[in-house]
């Protein structure tokens, strides 16, 4: 089923107060909204607040959504980005809280694999943290949220060309940081 039609129909059900439709919409997007907020803000606790704020906006303003004009996800991630940046600016200067450390992954059956995965995650998190904010956002929209370049550029409210320039710089910087050991072959 077309994801866009599905989001639109869920929103139509939310307008009539359908809590289950709201739950299904969260099933689809809440993990990515949280991941995007966290990549901008850095703190898991603050990213949770922003995620709640974004979904409250979805619940309250669902009737204002006009199906067919744009993709719901473009709006959703744009709102997430704007609120995350506002939140970050508000708390700028405050010391980074301890809960900015990544949430532990669900335990996997094989402890060795889990350790490898945790190390890899830690390595990539550090590499991402070294990127400038706009490049990190571009990478998160591409790999974590899974948007194409055009939709990600719309979410960041920049041109596709500008977005791709961010991706070029981010991919090169990540290759440099992560290096041959992590990526293998000609990195």
């Amino acid at each position: 089923m077309d994801e866009r039609e599905d989001d639109d129909s869920l929103l139509a059900q939310i307008v009539s107060g359908d809590r289950h439709a709201f739950g299904r919409l969260m099933d689809r997007h809440a993990d990515r909204v949280f991941a995007l907020a966290r990549s901008v803000i850095g703190s898991a606790a603050d990213a949770e607040d922003v995620t709640q704020d974004v979904f409250l906006a979805v619940w309250r303003t669902a009737e204002d959504w006009r199906p067919g004009k744009a993709r719901f996800t473009t709006w959703l991630y744009r709102v997430t980005l704007n609120r995350s940046l506002n939140h970050k600016n508000r708390v700028a200067g405050r010391q980074m809280p301890l809960d900015a450390v990544a949430e532990p992954e669900d335990p996997a059956p094989d402890p060795g694999e889990a350790l490898d995965a945790a190390r890899r995650r830690e390595r990539i998190d550090r590499a991402m943290a070294d990127l400038p904010e706009s490049q990190r956002t571009a990478m998160t929209l591409t790999y974590t949220v899974g948007l194409g370049n055009a939709e990600a550029a719309a979410a960041m409210e920049i041109s596709v060309k500008a977005f791709e320039a961010l991706l070029v710089r981010a991919r090169r910087k990540l290759r440099e940081i992560l290096g041959r050991e992590t990526l293998g072959g000609e990195a």
């Binding site: 009539s16 969260m26 993990d31 990515r32 995620t51 709640q52 619940w59 990478m139 000609e186």
Partner: protein, 142 residues
């Protein structure tokens, strides 16, 4: 003919999936891939990097505590019944029209008030009429 540097830019800007490349560049890139071992090495490396990043950056499952918080949103914020919202939406233009009329009346009141001579006797109808008619008296209408 696409150069290796142009091919690297294409990979970094659009990713390693040829379906995401613009059609014109797709043809040139495929020709380059056929003829250049360096391009093939670059392409394989880009695919490996992309696969690694896709796996590594995939969002973790939502924290159950956060999910529980999100689930309370509908209960804590009951929606206005649809009929009420429809009525409110239909009344909105009238509300704006009323507000605009009230604002225009206030502005008109200030204008007329400012134009009244300080010594004008407001009980005398001719003084007010002369404000509106008669340009020789500085009236509003010819």
């Amino acid at each position: 003919m696409m150069t290796l540097e142009e091919f690297r830019n294409l990979l970094d800007a659009k990713g390693p999936d040829p379906d995401d490349w613009p059609r014109r560049q797709q043809r040139a890139a495929k020709r380059l891939l056929l003829g250049s071992a360096d391009a093939r090495v670059m392409f394989d490396a880009a695919r490996r990097t992309d696969a690694f990043l896709t796996e590594a950056l995939w969002p973790a499952p939502l924290n159950p505590t956060l999910r529980a918080r999100l689930d309370t949103i509908p209960l804590a914020n009951p929606r206005t019944p649809e009929t009420t919202r429809i009525v409110m939406r239909q009344l909105r233009p009238w509300w704006y029209a009323g507000a605009a009329t009230a604002m225009a009346s206030v502005i008109a009141g200030f204008v007329v008030g400012a134009m009244l001579p300080a010594e004008a006797d407001l009980n005398e109808p001719i003084a007010i009429a002369s404000l509106i008619y008669g340009p020789s008296n500085g009236g509003l209408l010819p």
